[in-house]
Symmetry: C2
Subunit: 197 residues, 2 copies
């Protein structure tokens, strides 16, 4: 699909067919997601792709799916796969302790921005867009029950933080998120030319 | 351009033609960048697009361009425009203090993940890909001199944090980043199926 169409078609989907997407399609999405940049090419990002229905349900429970059920149904567990982006802050520190990245005084830089979160956000966006590119929909649910239970459910090591769960699948008509009634910020407020003020 | 080609063609560019890109092309990139999702549709992300050559140079200095000059030249200031993604954590808190987002006990959620950084990372990725889609290149430089001087150079208010500077322009042959010698993590390590372990 044309890039601009993918970006404009993307929206948060909250209702999917259960299953129905071939593994090779899911793998294409994951392979594109890997091509996301990272500070110093640290590559601290990872993906867990949950296909097994029992595990998907368990992940749904960790994300508080029951709260959503009256309005949206089981939109976190009923999908083709859950993409779970993870990131290791430690990988960034180790990368920036290598000789080519050290400060002049030989110490690790003071991180002005926690780029591990920024980079895994870039990975999240690539997954979303790659799903749309395959004609699929994608949502996002935070780990409402906490990061630790999500880590435990999927056997994710302590060194990696799963930032949430992205159900991907064939979209069904769903209830529009009430958040959308807020409308987009005017473009002139979003983007400013030369100086902010 | 086809979405998958855009993702696969993207790389960190460090040498550009100075200027040479129409404002409407830059605006198309900014308009696509706005279509990036955000937690609760908070839309805490913003862009400053720096076209003015004097301002670009000032921003380059703030990003420590002189350190790079022997190897890469003035790759931060000599470009068509610098895209500076910004984010306001406060907007997220205010959004999640609205009635539909409060916890059952009426308080703001405990944020398991700082989604403001994640979301502005998604915006960064949309800018990069949208630049490639226009046949342009895009780089990224952190505010080596600190966030405050970058904020001051562009008149960005305290409430917003600029996460870095993305020079966008017509790419010139450049010195490959030594980071790339590290190679990609094997796909089987990047993406895991069902469980991590």
């Amino acid at each position: 699909m044309e890039f601009a169409d993918v970006v404009m078609k993307r929206r948060a989907v909250r209702r999917f067919v259960d299953g129905g997407v071939d593994r090779e399609v899911l793998e294409r999405i994951a392979r594109l997601a890997q091509r996301t940049p990272s500070a110093g090419f640290s590559q601290g990002q990872r993906l867990v792709v949950v296909v097994d229905p029992g595990l998907r349900r368990r992940v749904g429970v960790v994300c508080g799916e029951q709260q959503y059920e009256p309005d949206f149904g089981r939109w976190i567990s009923e999908c083709a796969a859950q993409f779970v982006p993870c990131v290791s802050e430690g990988i960034y520190h180790r990368r920036y302790q290598e000789p080519d990245k050290l400060d002049e005084d030989g110490s690790e830089i003071d991180w002005p921005i926690p780029y591990w979160w920024v980079d895994v956000g870039a990975t999240m966006q690539t997954v979303m867009l790659a799903a749309v590119n395959e004609g699929l929909g994608c949502g996002f649910a935070g780990p409402a029950g906490g990061v630790a239970p999500l880590r435990e459910a999927l056997g994710i090591p302590e060194a990696f933080t799963p930032i949430g769960v992205m159900p991907v699948g064939i979209p069904l008509p769903d209830v529009r998120s009430p958040s959308l009634q807020r409308g987009w910020v005017p473009f002139e407020q979003f983007a400013r030319w030369d100086r902010w003020d």
